[in-house]
């Protein structure tokens, strides 16, 4: 009995209990290890947390809803307290969703909180991914975690859509009808898949129970698993940080999990919880009682999916009515297939492969723990903006009817404009974003070399007017000069001395990426620019005179 653990005798009751548990599960080691984990602080690093907390809230509210929701498509007549639907024939699923809304204490609040949390979950995941993309946090060693995150996004969409379909109201039924149409547009196997999924001809009587099982069991289980992998990899890789004085590729500057981050994160969970609770309490979401029970004949104006599926709906709306062929008596509906699957395939393929695409172009195989400011990776930023514009055009198209009515426009004109923007928007977005990024880099360079414009105009003895420039302090100067600026890597011959076609293509891409790069000022340049001004130690007037020759 010479080990320190055995000698330790706790004095209080709490201490004894803690010691009992610790000796059996060894928790203190984990706390010691994980509790000293350091996380850097930046507001944009918190969207992943928002998504995680939304997911926790989804689990809590969703569990409440399962107590009362009955996913049956059996027919019934509504007998609840919402008068405008009294006696209307509907499915048990819809009737129980109405009961949750009107006859179960707190049910409507829980339903609305669940739905708002779902919208926020996907929004937070999206913004988190955009942050990771634009700051280059997906680079080695985090490529696989980027892929796990992308899978989480797709799972989020699937989870959202299955949930949206459950109440079996008119809106969700119309959404399912579109999915049915898209499935049936798949050549050869489409109609078989549809029959398998719906248990016969649409809508059938099995789809809601099946979606329910997917929604409350399978997809959330996979999401949980993915979140576990995602967070585990974050711990393994450590968190990235923006460059700054003292922050290098080999350290993490910030606060430890215990106690600072544990407290902050715990508090932030309740902030997210509170915001969602306020939204659920004061703002209607998915008023299923407005839509009525699903029936394949009616459809309502303003029928849209939830926002995260909107872009696919928008692509369908933008597609002109061409591309349907009849081949040997079989219909090939490219007019449905292309818009429903094409843009999604394009965006998701690019999303999944981007870390490798970029590493291939830059030939950069190093580990990166320091983030890029978006302006310091102009081409990546421009490509990201192009993708965002591409997405947003389709997203806007999903609300083309509301754009038309609310801005007194012609629905046809809105569609024509969005069709043009579908192709031109990403190009314009790319060019504008790249120019802005390069311009910001040049501005940074200018400030690093010549200091900040003070707005103070001074007249010199010989009559000339100049503006006083104030040099930056070292901390700010560091941020402006210390960034990576990859250069064009021309095609390299391989071991046999040959330049392959793929390598040539890579060379072309590398030139497009980096030929107009703005190099950070070198120490020599900074020294030269500052030598006249005496590092701002001297009087401003004196500096102005000294800096005359460069004006």
């Amino acid at each position: 009995m010479s080990t320190s653990t055995a000698q330790y005798e706790p004095k209080t009751r709490v201490g004894r209990i803690t010691n009992f548990v610790d000796q059996r599960v060894g928790g203190s080691g984990m706390v010691k290890e994980f509790g000293r984990k350091v996380f850097p602080d930046h507001w944009s690093f918190m969207f992943g947390e928002v998504a995680l907390y939304s997911f926790v809230i989804l689990l809590l509210t969703g569990t409440f809803l399962t107590f009362f929701f009955d996913p049956s498509m059996a027919e019934t007549h509504y007998d609840g307290s919402y008068v405008p639907l009294k006696g209307v024939e509907m499915s048990v699923a819809y009737a129980s969703a109405l009961d949750i809304s009107f006859d179960i204490r707190g049910g409507l609040f829980m339903r609305q909180m669940h739905h708002w949390a779902a919208l926020l979950f996907v929004a937070a995941v999206s913004v988190h991914m955009l942050r990771v993309f634009f700051t280059g946090a997906f680079r080695k060693p985090r490529e696989l975690n980027w892929v796990v995150g992308s899978v989480l996004l797709i799972l989020g969409l699937a989870e959202g859509f299955t949930g949206y379909s459950l109440p079996d109201d008119l809106l969700s039924g119309n959404g399912l009808r579109i999915i049915d149409g898209v499935i049936k547009a798949i050549p050869v196997v489409g109609s078989y898949i549809s029959f398998f999924l719906f248990g016969g001809e649409f809508p059938g009587t099995v789809i809601i129970p099946r979606l329910y099982v997917l929604h409350i069991l399978l997809i959330p289980a996979i999401i949980l698993l993915m979140i576990a992998i995602h967070l585990f990899m974050v711990v393994v890789h450590k968190h990235t940080q923006f460059p700054g004085p003292g922050r290098t590729n080999n350290n993490v500057v910030g606060f430890p999990v215990g106690p600072v981050y544990a407290a902050k994160a715990g508090g932030f969970f309740f902030i997210v919880f509170g915001v969602l609770a306020l939204m659920a309490g004061f703002f209607t979401i998915n008023p299923i009682w407005n839509y009525g029970p699903y029936d394949p004949s009616p459809i309502s104006a303003g029928t849209q999916p939830d926002w995260y599926i909107g872009w696919v709906d928008g692509a369908l709306r933008l597609m002109p009515g061409v591309g349907e062929f009849v081949i040997f008596g079989f219909t090939l509906s490219l007019n449905v297939l292309i818009p429903a699957l094409g843009p999604a395939l394009l965006l998701f393929t690019l999303m999944f492969t981007w870390p490798w695409l970029e590493a291939w172009v830059t030939k950069d195989k190093r580990e990166h723990h320091l983030l890029d400011r978006p302006r310091n990776a102009p081409t990546r930023t421009a490509i990201g903006v192009a993708g965002v514009v591409f997405y947003c055009v389709m997203w806007a198209a999903a609300s083309s009817d509301l754009i038309a009515t609310h801005f007194s426009l012609s629905l046809n004109d809105v569609t024509y404009w969005l069709r043009a923007l579908f192709f031109l928007g990403p190009i314009i977005g790319f060019l504008v974003a790249k120019r802005i990024a390069l311009a910001l880099q040049r501005k940074d360079r200018e400030i690093a070399l010549h200091g900040r414009e003070t707005g103070r105009i001074v007249r010199l003895p010989h009559g000339e007017f100049i503006e006083v420039h104030e040099p930056l302090d070292e901390y700010h100067q560091y941020k402006l000069v210390n960034y990576e600026s990859p250069e064009v890597v021309p095609p390299q011959p391989n071991a046999e001395g040959k330049i392959t076609t793929a390598e040539k293509a890579r060379g072309v891409l590398s030139r497009i990426f980096f030929e107009d790069r703005v190099a950070p000022p070198t120490p020599a340049e900074v020294e030269a620019a500052h030598s006249h001004g005496g590092h701002g130690e001297v009087e401003a007037e004196h500096e102005d005179q000294e800096s005359l020759p460069r004006q």
Binding site: P84, T284, D306
Partner: protein, 263 residues
């Protein structure tokens, strides 16, 4: 019977048969269509109403609809549109037209109820058409809003939205929002089919069905939104917009606050 069979080859037999056929179909049609037009007889206007209405018509409507309502290149003929159409178009301010456009927009009515009635009387005198529905037709005291809701979703929601929030049609036309529209105007819109709206005559939706629809609209209008602010009843678009602006905006404000101490 023998006499009939003997004369069936008579030169006039074909004409007699044709005459009988015409009489039969015409008679049946008269009986059938009488059902729809029975109401038209029930609201009589005095000769004075028609006279005053004509004066108002000539001064305010004839530029487009012609001196005797026969229609011109810029406005349709009003012969046979009935008093209900006038009462709807003038009563909601759509007529006289504020400006040319994809469709007539609502504005504060330009004429009072009496003047509107006089113009309606004049237009009704041009040819038979749907009359202004009386109190009995608009009585919704025993109407069934549940049934009205079903009829509304099948017949109206595709343009007017399931909650009556309105929706877009092609080339700048639109189906207006239904909240705040008077019962009589809803009824008249159904029987006259203004602008791009189809006519829902009594064979399509029975008078009882129309009352149910009006009762449904009144119920959803008078029921406060159960879940809080309804965000315009525009469906997932306004919800998505809300979560991206207000929801995420507040969250971002908090993230900035939480990390503002350091960095």
């Amino acid at each position: 019977m023998k006499a009939l069979s003997q004369r069936r080859r008579h030169p006039l037999a074909a004409i007699a048969l044709l005459l009988m056929g015409l009489l039969l179909t015409g008679g049946l049609y008269a009986v059938a269509s009488g059902a729809n037009e029975a109401k038209a007889q029930s609201s009589p206007y005095t000769a004075e109403d028609v006279e005053e209405g004509k004066k108002l018509f000539v001064a305010n409507c004839a530029t487009c609809h012609g001196m005797s309502g026969q229609g011109t290149e810029t406005g349709p003929s009003l012969v046979g549109v009935g008093a209900a159409a006038v009462h709807f178009q003038v009563g909601t301010g759509r007529m006289p037209l504020q400006m040319q456009g994809p469709q007539a927009k609502e504005k504060p009515p330009q004429f009072n109820e009496e003047e509107t009635r006089q113009m309606a009387a004049y237009v009704a005198s041009l040819g038979p058409g749907p009359a202004i529905p009386g109190e009995k037709a608009l009585d919704t005291s025993d109407a069934d809003p549940g049934n009205g809701g079903q009829l509304f979703r099948v017949n109206c929601a595709m343009c007017h939205n399931a909650a009556g929030a309105g929706g877009a049609l092609t080339r700048g036309k639109f189906a207006p929002q239904l909240a705040g529209v008077e019962d009589v105007h809803v009824y008249e819109a159904m029987i006259t089919g203004p602008q791009n709206m189809p006519v829902f005559n009594d064979a399509t939706i029975s008078p009882q069905g129309k009352q149910d629809i009006i009762a449904f609209l009144n119920t959803i209008e008078s029921t406060p939104s159960p879940g809080g602010a309804d965000l315009g009843s525009l469906g997932p678009v306004s919800e998505g917009l809300f979560v991206w602006t207000a929801g995420l905006g507040v969250i971002i404000a908090f993230t900035i606050w939480l990390t503002s101490r350091s960095s």
